[in-house]
Structure formats: C-alpha cells, structure tokens
Symmetry: C2
Subunit: 633 residues, 2 copies
Amino acid sequence: MATIEQLQAWHELAQQLRVDSIRATTAAGSGHPTSSMSAADLMTVLLAKYLRYDFNNPHNPNNDHLVFSKGHASPLLYAMYRAAGVIDDRELMSLRKFGSRLEGHPTTVLPWVEVATGSLGQGLPIAVGIALAGEYLDQLPYHTWVLLGDSEMAEGSIWEAFEHASHYKLANLIAIIDVNRLGQRGQTMLGWNTQVYCDRARAFGWKAIEIDGHNLEEIDQAYSAAIHNLDYPTVIVARTKKGKGVAHLEDLGGWHGQALKPDDAKAAIAQLGGERHITIAVEKPEEQPLTATTGQQAQTLQLPIYQEGDLVATRKAYGDALKALGGSRPDVVALDAEVSNSTYAEDFAKAYPDHYFEMYIAEQQMVAAAVGLQVRQYKPFASTFAAFLSRAYDFIRMAAISRANIKLVGSHAGVSIGQDGPSQMALEDLAALRAVWSSTVLYPCDANQTAKLVAEMVDRDGIVYLRTTREKTPVLYEVDEDFPIGGSKVIRSSDDDQVAVIAAGITVHEALKAYDRLKQEGITVRVIDAYSVKPIDAATLHQAARDTAGKLVVVEDHWSEGGLGAAVLDAFVGIGTAPAYGELGLNLVKLAVRDMPGSGTPEELLHAAQIDADAIVKAVRSLVKQAAWMPTE
Amino acid sequence: MATIEQLQAWHELAQQLRVDSIRATTAAGSGHPTSSMSAADLMTVLLAKYLRYDFNNPHNPNNDHLVFSKGHASPLLYAMYRAAGVIDDRELMSLRKFGSRLEGHPTTVLPWVEVATGSLGQGLPIAVGIALAGEYLDQLPYHTWVLLGDSEMAEGSIWEAFEHASHYKLANLIAIIDVNRLGQRGQTMLGWNTQVYCDRARAFGWKAIEIDGHNLEEIDQAYSAAIHNLDYPTVIVARTKKGKGVAHLEDLGGWHGQALKPDDAKAAIAQLGGERHITIAVEKPEEQPLTATTGQQAQTLQLPIYQEGDLVATRKAYGDALKALGGSRPDVVALDAEVSNSTYAEDFAKAYPDHYFEMYIAEQQMVAAAVGLQVRQYKPFASTFAAFLSRAYDFIRMAAISRANIKLVGSHAGVSIGQDGPSQMALEDLAALRAVWSSTVLYPCDANQTAKLVAEMVDRDGIVYLRTTREKTPVLYEVDEDFPIGGSKVIRSSDDDQVAVIAAGITVHEALKAYDRLKQEGITVRVIDAYSVKPIDAATLHQAARDTAGKLVVVEDHWSEGGLGAAVLDAFVGIGTAPAYGELGLNLVKLAVRDMPGSGTPEELLHAAQIDADAIVKAVRSLVKQAAWMPTE
C-alpha cells in the first residue's frame, strides 16, 4: 500500500505532467494536451514506482520497455522525460518545432523511444514482438508496458496482438488502456463501457483489471498485480477523463488535438496548481546476464550450393539459405504467417524452432513482431505470400519511421504463380516496397543468387525486401558469383547490341529465350539481370543506353506502375538538379502486366500478360525497326 | 425438424458436393478439395433450405448474399453452382484452366460471385457492408451469409467486422465458421476449441451457436435460430473435419491445397458413394419493394463555389462537394474512420446521417464496407488520413480484383501537413494507389478543382482515389473551368518556354511562386497542373517535352518512387512496342521527398524536403545552364 505521502507526491508529479503537456502544446500551437492529461496518473505511478529503466543506457538489455501506442499523447511522454531529468525545460518547449527531437508523435530520433507510433493500433502488436524477445530469446525478466488509447481498440491489429500474446503466454506484457471515452470526433464505440473491454480481453486469454484511472491507489495495486501475474498478459482497463484536472476541458468533446490558447493555458495551469519542477530518479533494472541465445559466437556461414541448369524455385533457395544462416547467426529469427511450407521458412523452423515464431494468418502482427524483435537487436526475417504483405503496409511504412531493421520475404510473386488466380499474385509489391523510406528491394532469378542475397540481407539496415518466385527455374549462375546489393548482372552482351533487355526474377528466363530467338534473326541484344531493384545499378543502365542509342526493353511480372520499369526510368532522371550526363535519348518499352489475370498455367499467364519471350521479341523488333526510319546518334 | 427423407436427400447432396470438389480439383491438378469437404454439409443445408436467391437475376435486390470468405473452398462453391443447375459438368471440370470462369479463388467474372475472395479475413468485413446496405439503405429482409475458415479468425480484420456488426446491430448477418482445425501448415491457434470462438464472439456482441458441422439436423436448427434472431448478428461455430468422408484424408495434415491424384480420387469418390447428378431448385426470395432510398430521382447538383484568391483547403472543398452530392444523388454514401472532422466528411454526415456510416478507427473495415455497399450499387466515398489508407492496402488490392467501384479520399497528404510529423504524412499513397488495377488517382490543387473532381468521381468505375491537402491554399481556378479526368491544366506558358514544371496539389502553388521568380531572371517556364495523376495527360506532357527540348521538372510532396514523377515518365515509354514518337530526349529533374521528415511548419518542411519554390528555381536554373554547354535540338 502506498503511503499518504507517496500518494501526495505522485499527485504532484501527475499535475506536473499535465501542466507540462499544456505548456508544451500551447508553446507549439498544436498537439494533444487533453489526451495526455487523461493518462497522466497512469504514467506517474509507472514512472515513479514500477518502470525499471536505465536512462543513461537505453540499450541495457535489462531495461523495461515502454511503448506509447497512443502516440498522440507524446506531450505526456516528453513531460515524463523532463520529470526523469533527461530533457530540460527548454527542450520540452521545442515540441513540434523544426529540428526538435520532440516530434508531434514519438519517433526514434529520441534515444529512449524504441519505435515510432502515431498510426494507432500498432504499439501493442510491436510490444508483443519485444515481449517475445524477452520471454523466449533474451530470457530476461524485463516488462513491456504499453499505453493504449481506447479509440485504437477498434483496430483489428489490437486483437491480433491480444490473441498472439495469450497464445505465447507473454506474462511480461502489460497493456494499459486509457479509456477516456472520447475519440477525435466524438464518443468511441464503447464509451466508458469498461466491462466490455474486460470481457473481450478475457475471451482472448488475458487477465483484465478494471480501475479508476485517476485513483492512484487503484493504479498502484493494478500494476502490482500485473507484475506478479506470471501466467498471462495483463490488461489494465482504466476509466479516465480526457482533459482531467481542468474544469473547462474535462470529459468535453471538441478538444481533441487542440492546444490551449495562452490565456486559456494560464488559467488551466493555475487550476492544476501551477508549474512544478519535480525531478525523480527512475529506478534502474537489476543486472541479469543474457542467456546464451544472443551471446553465441557467429559460425562460418555455409550457404547452399546449386548446380547450373538444375530446376530450383527461388523460394526454396530462400528456405535453404535461411536455414544455413540460422546455423551461423544466433541473432537471426524467422516469422511466417501460416504459409511456411510455401515460403519454405519451415526449413528454418524445423532446424531452429527456438528462433522461429509462427504468426498464423496475421500479417500485421507478423511485421509488428519483427519490429519488436529488432528493438532487441535481433535480425527478423518475416515471410508470407508477397501479395499478403500488402496487409501490413501501414506497419511497414511505420517501421521505416522507426528506423527499424527488418527483412521481409514475399513468395508467389506475379502471374507466374499460375492456377491460384489473382488474389494470390503479388503485382504491386515492388511499387509498394520501393515507396518505403530506407527500403531495399531484391528480386533474384536463380537459387545461387537468392542464397547470396539472403546472406547480404542480414546486416543490411532498413526495410529489406526479397521477392521470390513460386515456380522452379533453372539455375543460371555459378556458386562463386557475387551479387552485391545495388549491382546487376549483364548476362548477354556484345559490341553491337542493338537493344538492351532489362529483366528480374522470372522474366530473366524469358529474356534469355528471347535472346536466343533474336540471335537467330541476326538481332543482338544485351540482357541485364536487375536483381537489385532498389538501389538500381544506374551505371550499367546508363552504359546500356549509350551503347544502344537508348533502346531499352524492361520486362517485369508486376503491374506497369512503380516496379522495375519505374526503377529503370528513375536511373535516368536528375535528383534536384539536371542529370549529370545531360540529355539522354530514351526509347524505352515497358512490358508489364496490364489486364487482370485469371487462372492458367504459368506459361499461359506470362504469355497472356505479354511479358514472355514472345512479347520481348516483338518489343525488340519494334525498336530495331524504328531505327531504320528514325535514326538516332 | 427435418424429416428423415430430407436428411437423406441432404446427405446425398453433400456427398455430391464433396465428390465434385474432388473431381474438379483432380482434373485441374491443384486446388483445395479437403477444405471444401469440411464445409459441404454446412453449405448443403444452406443451399437446399435457407438461401433465397434468384440465379436468373443476380441483381434482384431481394436476393440473399453468400460470401465465401474462405475463398480457397471455391471447388465447393462451384459444386453448389452445378447443383443449382447454373453451370454444367463440363464447366465444373474447367476449374483453374486458362480462360475458365472458375478461377482458383472466386472472382466476379462469375455473375453470382459478388466479391472476390482469397485473401483471408476479408469476406466477413465486406459482408458487413452488404448487411449495412440491407438494414439501413435498402431496408429489405435479405440475409448475408458468410462461410469462414477457422484459420482466418486470426486476422484482425475479422474482429473489426465482429465489433462493427454488433455496433450496427446487423441481425441480417450470419457467419458460419468451418472449424476444421487444420490450417495450411498445421493446427490453427485454437484447434477445435470452439468454446473460445464462441466466448470471443459473445464478448463482441454476437449470438454464438456451437454445433457439429457434419450433423445436418444441428445445422438446420442453427440456421433456423439465426434467421429468427432479430437483435444481433449470429455466428455458427461448426466443428468439422477437413477431408470429411474419406478415410485417408479426414482430419489429416499435409492435404491443404493438394489435389488428389486420379487413382486416389477414384477411391475417394467410391468411398463417398460415387458420382451423383442431383440438381436442386434454389428458392427465390419474396419480392419486396425497395424503399425510397434508392428509388429517389437524382436532383440537380449544385457544387460549392469558391472565389479566386480565397484560402480554402482542398479537404474542406471535398467536404462541401460531398455534401452537395448528397443532396443530388441518393446513391451516394459516405464512410470515415473516426477523423471526419479532419477529412470534412462530417459535413456530409451532419446533412445526411442516414447515408453516413462511422467506421471508427478501423480502416480495413471501412474499405471492406465500401466494397460491400457497392455490391448493392451504392456509391461509397470512404475517407481518412491518406497515410492510414495504407492500413487497408490489401483490401484495396482485392477490391480491384472484385471489379468494385469505390471512392477513396485521403487527406493530410505529404510533408505539408506540418507539425504532426511523419506518422501522419502520406508519402507513399500515390505509388500505392497507382499500382492498383483499374485505379484513378486525382490530386487537386484548389477548391473549385476539387469540387469538380468529386462530382466526376461518383460514376467513375474502379478504385478512384482523391488526395487532399491539409493546409489552406489559394483558389486558382474560376468556377466554370472543367477538369476532366485524364486531363491537366497548363497554367503558365509562352512560345519560348525553356523548361516545363509539372506539379500537382500543394506543389502547384510552389511552382507558381517559382514561375514569378524565374520570370524576373528572364527565364520563362511552363507550369502544368497534373491534377489527374492516373490517367496522366500524356499529350500535354509530350508537347511540353517537344517545346523545351525535353527539359522537365516534376515536383511532388511524396517519396521519389512511384508518384507523380513516375507517372510523368510513364507517359514517355512505349507499351509493348516502341513509342510512337520514336526517341525523345528527356532531361528530367525529379523533386520529391527523399529524407525522413520531422515536425515543423509546412513551409519549413517543404523547404527542407527541397520541393518548394526555392528548389524548383534551382532545378530550372540547372537545366537552363546545361543548355549553354550541351545544346540539344
């Protein structure tokens, strides 16, 4: 039981957090003071008594983790940092200003923020990933605390987190729902019906505790119960008031995302007892040694080897290579969304079950868990059908804002999957993943290339995406070839190439067939395997354009927008200022999927989409023919 | 109570559905027979007794709706069509073959399939949209039946559907979960723990009925209870066996997505009692008149009018225009994900509350509901922050496969939103939406243009996306200007333009500032407002390239990949064969966001991203300067 003195001290601290939330947002002229005020009591008790965190060493493996899933309550978080003595008042007042670390929603530019939030419903699933690391990999007793808003409980991703947290018995995970009843534009679906939140949480296998979120004793007791609950994750459903503590704000609509005008702020701060300058010493965690999992030394990597001409699907090579990595890198973990026998993540899962997490059909949770795992420096590879990564696109976008280092692998790309039909065909994945900040996009055409690229992915920063193919394709490269990210392979060339064909993945094989047929016609083409779609090998493309008077054919198993063709074109534009090489005549043909495919054999569908050898031959001929009547220099 | 004769007849029909599922998949050499067999009894009783459907008139407003959320059970659906007499045996045997309507997963190329499925967890949220139409707009007594797999219950989108269905009291919605315990690669998270499914459903406000999914009497009673339940949606949790009826398949792993070999199939069919040729007459619905909602005549549209020079955010113009549309078009409905006071959908919501559905913070459910509403011919406009449409990207992708006609509106695009920071900034939406089949992408720069485009969106087929801006911008256009989709506006031009600047939305205003500054330097530039990003106005771009020797600057508030710059480049490539105009020298500078933004004022962030007037001036100068030492024709 907390003493009266302790309760009084906590009350003072809570009021300071409220006052600071108002001061910072009023100085900024925007922000979310009232959403911060509702959770101030909840965060006060956490900071003052329960959080174990070494602010001087954010990477201390024994630290607790705190995720503000309701990222718009960032003023509260920053006020907590001030109370902890790690930012000063001047920095607090820089909230939302250009160049400040205190952005409108928390990002990892602050050393104590581990993941960016602000897209609601993401903090809890990411925390599941951190808790998985704690329970199964680090095997350390730290807790992961998550502050949630009640509005975000409507996001399905929250329930993916609930089901996975109970499935994996993550008793180290504690969710705190700030049920202030009011969303951005009115009442939430459930209002103050905290009983329903508890019923749902319990049906999903959690321990649920219902409290008055402004009663410091109830908060204290709930946290105590949560950290002593060793069987299940705990959710604390706290009934609160938005704008708590200020009469003209409390539980009133119309105040979401509104900073107070200076005069209003002055009156509100007075009601809250004025400014305070309390600093508290947040307790550090007990030091516990890491288990062997992360301490292991890396072994020499023995990548799988494939013989030229053998038929091997690149998805299978991914599985083989990932398994090989598992033997050499104890920091590699794998996740899959219930299709590991298709993506071949199962090869890793069988060999290293302790480093594999089955995410079932919940792609958002899968990507979120990967983000959580990399918080603890693991190297997560998350795989599913490439089409279904689109389910987690917002999570991938936010992972980039978190500066997260995750590896995504999408199998069954393009029409070449055949009979299953368009719902299973990724035709937009290259466009979507290219348009993610910090991303790398790889698309290998053979098994040896795939294995090499998987090995390079491990330590590549940012969002690294590998696209694999369902069908078996012939091995083209010898095992000693290297495939640096950012490179390409010129696999057919001569001194008098008339056209260059740029392909990747499945279409490389079509380009080679087209090469043979065109050669018989006396037309020589260059064939470029652009396995690194982003970054693209601009130098090789420039050379090809110079050698062929700009006659390029790009062929891809993807919609015509945003994929390989777009990447190639981007190599010919100036960034910010004029292209260094000046004007370059481009005479480029794009072969890409334009009509909605149906079912059929891979060959039928590649042909129907006009991205097979026939289409390449036709495109090349049209460019060669054009030269006869419209010469270029 | 069903008679013994009836039960026997149903059993025979169920066995036929199983046999046909095996026959069709074996003929195809792929597909999901065992996932079909587990649900055969459930679908038999539905087809034979409960479904009210006029196969001769799929658009009969009184028809029940049946959504196969577990789309991989398509062989069962097609077997039902054969039993209903609407496809013959020859067509059934065309499953998964090139050109067949019977694709690997159901699509709307079949007249009785209303939405494509195959990305799990989408059928139920779409059905919520159909049920909303039935309950609130059509006000007709039809039911929407949904067959779900148990694996897909792990998708968060399912729980968005559960919460919305109970919130909106959709007693006309009946979900049937085929709990066959086995997913693609092993047991599901909950196995046969049907009690937990029921607990969760009840906590989410549904009536739940637990049955043996192979007991025809229990199925009959459950359906009867469901259609007589007038208060809440009903879920029937049916315990089943995958591969039911064939000893060597029943409840065994390793059979997911596996067709039987011909000999295996023969033995299995024998076990099931051989082939049958039962045809049943599915009962038609009672004819009920449509309510006034859809019968209303369209009134003359009075779009809002804005004065040149006034400062109006395009998001506000969207709200005004949508409200105007509401007065003229009774088929227009609006949805928003709890930010209607930011997107301005609230203007419509207040004026036409009966045609507005609050979707709370559940973007997947919002887009799915839009797809469901358009099944009944409504014209849904679904809005949220553009960044958060990324949450529903898989639903948008699948909506295109459904050939759905939906309108998406994303506000708060780009760094120009200012202080809220990157989590709230859409910087990938143009890339993502361009890479959707059948999509239209619009990005207006002023209020009058926005209003005109909103009016054009209503009857535009496919996925139509409008990107709006948070900040107020000056009105540029007179009210009588037209902005056809596929067009653009040349807003500054002369006979000696040295460079053409192509902009859209917020950057049009920066381009105009740059124009003025460059003019003072003696440099004349053309300024093109490319409000129609897809389709792009290729003819105007070609003319600009000819007039400026290919010197183009594209400036956009978006990542550099896949957006306006990519759309402009695509206008200069050949599709399939060489570009008609032959080689065209391009000397293009892309100005786009490349570094991760933080918080700041819109002006600071546009400047930091180098997409403001300063950056345009610099880029133009670099192109003009280049001409001096590297002349082009």
